[in-house]
C-alpha cells in the first residue's frame, strides 16, 4: 500500500467513523465538553478520529470565542501527539494551553496543563522538572481541594520516581493517589494506578498484590477507550508471569497485547509488546526472540523512531552475538551506529528545521500582522463607508425634513392666503353691507324728509294767509332740495359723494316745475363734472335753491327773454366758483344786502360762511351771485379775506 492510498484510506475511515459516530453524537455537540468526551473516546481507540474531532472542537471553540474550551482541546491534542510519540509538538500545545488557563486563572486547567508538561519532561528524562511541575499541579489541586487533581498529581509523581527505579518513593505517592482514587469514579488514572501498583509490587516480588492489581485493572479497562492501558497492563502482567517462571502464560498475554496494539494501530504499544515477547523468549528460544526483535526494529524504522530502533538494534546485536552469529550482530551494530550518527545529524537538522519553522512562524506572524493591518484598514474603510452612509442617510433625512418644512410652510402660506382671501371677502362683504346700510340710511332720511314735505303740503291745505302759504311752500322746497340729495346718494354707486351736475340739473328742473310760475324762464346750465361730499353738497344745494327761487319769483317782470344762468366751475386746483346770474331787474337800490333781513339772503350768507367761501353779489345785467370756495371744506377760500359778501352796483 502506497502512502497516498493509506492516507486516502485513513481519511475515508476518519470520515466514515466520524459519520457513524456523528449519527449518534452530532446533536450532543453543543459545547466543547461534548467534543472532549468524543476525543477521549477515540484517543487510544482511533487517534485519527480523535484528531479529526479535536480539529472540529478547536474550530467550534474558536467560533464561540471559548478560550477555556480551546485550551482544553489543546490539552487533548497534546495527548494525541503524546500517544503518537510526538513529544515536542505535544509539549508546545500543553504550554499554550497552560498560558491560556493562566490568563483565565482557571485552576483546574492550569493543574492539568502542568501535569501534561510534566509528563513530557518525564518522557524526556527530565525528572526534576517533571516532578517540579507535578508538585506545582498538586499544590494548585490542594488549594482548590480538587481530589481528582490531587490524585493525578500524586500518581504522576509516583510515575516519575518509578521511571527512575525509585520504587519506594513511587509506592509512597501511589498509595496517596490510590487513597483519592477510592473516593472517585473510575478514570484512566485509576487504571494507571493499578498498572503501576502491578509494576512496583512485581519489582518487590509481591506477586500476589501485583497480580491482583493488574487483573483488576485489566477487568476495568476492557473498553475501547482504555485499550492502550489494557495493553500496558497485559504486558506488565506478562512480565510478572515471566518473573514467576510462567513463561507460557506470559507469552499468550504478550501475543494478545501484540494483536490488540496492531488492531488499534498503536505502534508504541506494538513495539512494547514485541520487545516484551522477545525478552520472554530470549533465554529459552533466542531465534523467536530475534524474530520479534527484528519486527520491532523494522517497525521502529518504519515509524522513524530512531531512539527506539537504536535500542532494539543494540539488543538484537547482543542476541546475535550470544548465538555466535557475528555477521548479523555486526550488521545490527553497524546500523545502530549509522542510526546514532544520522540520529544526531537529524537532531541537528531538526534543530535547523525548527529554526526554519520558527522563522516561517515569525514570517507568518508578520503576514498575520499584515493581514490584520489590512483587515483593520478594511474595517476602517468599512467604518468610513458606514460613516459616509450614515451621513448620506442623515443628509437624506435632513432633506426630507427641509422638504417637509417647505411643504408645511407652503401649506401655511396657502392657508394664510386662503385666510387673507376669506378676510378680504368678508371685508368686501362688510364694505358692501356698509354701502347697503348707507343707502338704507339715505333712503330713510329721504323718506323722512318726504314725510316732512307731505306734512307741510298737508298743512298748506289748511292755511289761508298768503304769508303762511309762501312760508310753507318755501320750506317744502328747501326740504325737497335736501331730499333730492339723499335720493342721489342712495341711487348712485357711491354713498359718499354727490355728482353735482346731475343733481343741479334735477334741482333746477324741480324748481322750474314746482314754482307755479307762468313766466317763460330759460335756464342755462354750465356745470363741470364735480363731486361733493354731503357736507358740501347740502349748503351748495340750499344756496342754489335760495338763489333760483329768488330769481324765479322776483327777477322777472316780463314774460319773455327771461334767462337764468347757473354755472359751477372748477378753477385751478381746488378752487370752485359758483355763479347764479339772471338777466332780470337786479337788486333794487334801496335794498342793503348787508343788513337785509330776507331769509334767502341770510341763508346764502350763512351757508357761504359754512363753506368757508367768499360771496359776491352784483347787479350785472341782472343779479349775479358768485361764490368762491374750495373743494376741501376744511380749507378756507380765500384764506386772506374775511369778506363773505359784497355788493357792487354795476354800471
Amino acid at each position: 500500500m502506497t502512502t497516498i492510498n493509506k492516507k486516502i484510506a485513513i481519511v475515508v475511515l476518519v470520515f466514515f467513523s466520524a459519520r457513524v459516530y456523528s449519527q449518534h453524537v452530532e446533536k450532543k455537540f453543543s459545547s466543547v465538553k461534548d467534543y472532549e468526551a468524543v476525543i477521549k473516546h477515540y484517543r487510544y481507540l482511533d487517534p485519527d478520529s480523535a484528531s479529526y474531532y479535536a480539529m472540529l472542537a478547536m474550530e467550534f471553540a474558536r467560533q464561540k470565542k471559548d478560550s477555556n474550551g480551546m485550551a482544553s482541546i489543546l490539552l487533548q491534542q497534546g495527548m494525541i501527539d503524546d500517544n503518537n510519540g510526538n513529544f515536542d509538538s505535544s509539549e508546545k500545545k500543553y504550554r499554550v494551553s497552560l498560558d491560556i488557563f493562566r490568563s483565565l486563572n482557571e485552576k483546574k486547567g492550569i493543574a492539568g496543563s502542568l501535569i501534561r508538561i510534566g509528563v513530557v519532561e518525564l518522557r524526556n528524562g527530565n525528572y526534576d522538572k517533571a516532578i517540579g511541575n507535578f508538585l506545582d499541579a498538586l499544590k494548585i489541586a490542594e488549594e482548590s481541594a480538587d481530589k481528582y487533581g490531587m490524585m493525578e498529581a500524586n500518581y504522576n509523581i509516583s510515575w516519575a520516581y518509578l521511571d527512575q527505579n525509585n520504587f519506594a518513593a513511587a509506592l509512597q505517592y501511589l498509595l496517596v493517589a490510590e487513597k483519592y482514587n477510592q473516593q472517585l469514579p473510575l478514570s484512566n488514572i485509576s487504571l494507571n494506578i493499578y498498572d503501576h501498583f502491578g509494576i512496583i509490587y512485581t519489582h518487590n516480588n509481591d506477586f500476589k498484590q501485583a497480580e491482583s492489581y493488574l487483573q483488576k485493572g485489566l477487568q476495568l479497562s476492557e473498553k475501547p477507550e482504555y485499550q492502550g492501558l489494557y495493553i500496558n497492563m497485559l504486558n506488565n502482567l506478562a512480565g510478572l508471569y515471566t518473573k514467576e517462571g510462567l513463561e507460557k502464560k506470559a507469552i499468550s498475554l504478550q501475543k494478545d497485547a501484540l494483536n490488540r496494539s496492531r488492531k488499534i494501530g498503536n505502534y508504541l504499544r506494538e513495539l512494547q509488546s514485541l520487545l516484551a515477547l522477545s525478552k520472554t523468549y530470549m533465554k529459552k528460544n533466542p531465534a523467536t526472540a530475534i524474530f520479534y526483535l527484528k519486527q520491532a526494529v523494522s517497525l521502529a524504522q518504519e515509524k522513524k523512531v530512531p531512539r527506539q530502533e537504536i535500542r532494539y538494534l543494540q539488543k538484537l546485536s547482543e542476541l546475535y552475538k550470544a548465538q555466535g552469529n557475528y555477521r548479523e550482530a555486526f550488521a545490527a551494530k553497524d546500523r545502530q551506529y549509522m542510526l546514532l550518527d544520522s540520529f544526531f545529524y537529524r537532531k541537528v537538522t531538526q534543530n535547523i528545521e525548527s529554526l526554519k519553522a520558527e522563522y516561517e512562524l515569525s514570517k507568518s506572524n508578520a503576514k498575520i500582522k499584515e493581514l490584520n493591518y489590512i483587515n483593520n484598514k478594511h474595517q476602517l474603510e468599512l467604518k468610513n463607508s458606514t460613516l459616509l452612509r450614515n451621513i448620506t442617510f442623515a443628509g437624506l433625512l435632513l432633506l426630507l425634513v427641509i422638504v417637509g418644512l417647505f411643504y408645511n410652510q407652503n401649506k401655511i402660506r396657502k392657508k394664510s392666503n386662503l385666510e387673507l382671501k376669506e378676510k378680504n371677502q368678508s371685508l368686501q362683504k362688510l364694505l358692501e353691507e356698509k354701502e347697503w346700510l348707507m343707502k338704507e340710511i339715505h333712503h330713510r332720511v329721504k323718506n323722512n324728509l318726504q314725510i316732512v314735505i307731505s306734512l307741510l303740503n298737508t298743512q298748506l291745505k289748511y292755511v289761508h294767509s298768503d304769508d303762511a302759504i309762501q312760508a310753507i311752500s318755501e320750506s317744502m322746497q328747501r326740504m325737497q332740495s335736501i331730499s333730492l340729495l339723499h335720493q342721489r346718494l342712495y341711487q348712485s354707486d357711491s354713498t359718499a359723494v354727490v355728482e353735482m351736475r346731475s343733481y343741479i340739473e334735477e334741482l333746477v328742473s324741480y324748481l322750474e316745475g314746482s314754482s307755479g310760475s307762468t313766466q317763460n324762464i330759460i335756464f342755462k346750465m354750465d356745470i363741470d363734472e364735480i363731486e361733493f361730499d354731503l357736507a358740501q353738497a347740502i349748503p351748495v344745494g340750499l344756496i342754489l335753491n335760495e338763489a333760483l327761487t329768488n330769481a324765479i319769483k322776483h327777477a322777472f317782470a316780463q314774460n319773455k327773454n327771461n334767462m337764468v344762468a347757473v354755472s359751477l366751475k372748477k378753477q385751478n386746483g381746488r378752487h370752485i366758483v359758483l355763479h347764479i346770474n339772471d338777466n332780470g331787474k337786479g337788486i333794487p337800490e334801496h335794498v342793503d344786502l348787508g343788513t337785509s333781513n330776507s331769509m334767502g339772503i341770510r341763508l346764502i350768507k350763512g351757508l357761504t360762511r359754512q363753506l368757508n367761501g367768499k360771496l359776491k353779489i352784483q347787479n350785472k345785467g341782472g343779479l349775479l351771485i358768485q361764490i368762491d370756495f374750495s373743494t376741501k371744506p376744511v380749507e378756507k377760500y380765500p384764506v386772506t379775506e374775511e369778506v363773505y359778501y359784497e355788493l357792487e352796483t354795476a354800471i
Binding site: H443, K446, N447, Q450, I451, S454, L455, T458, K461, Q491
Partner: protein
Amino acid sequence: MNRKILIVEDEFIVADDLQLTLIHAGYDVLDIATSVKEAMIMIAEEAPGLVLLDIQLKGAQNGISLAKTLREKGIPFIYLSANSNNKIIEAVNETKPNGFLVKPFREKDLFNAVDKVFQLKPEQ
C-alpha cells in the same frame, strides 16, 4: 267711467297728503289702503277706477304682487316709488303699469299721470 282712486300707501302722512292734494285738485279718492291685504278687501268691496300704488309696503306682499292682481282684474294703476333702481324698474315693467312716479314728484306730474289714465286732457 269709474274715476275713483284708491291710494295704497303705508305711510299715512304721505297717503293723507296725497289724498288731500287729489281732492283739492278735484279728483275722487275712494280710500287709503295701508297694505296689500287691505287693498284687496277694498277692491273686492268696490272696484276703483285707478290705484296709486306704493311699491314698498308693510306686510308680506309688496306693491308689485298687488299689481299682478290689478292687471288681471283690468284695474289701471300707477306706481309711486321712492326707489328707482334698475332691479325694481325691471320688476315693475313686467307688470306693465299705467304710470310710474318717483318720489318726490311734483303735483303737476301726478295730475298728468292720473289724467292720462282717465283720458282727460290736462287742464292747462
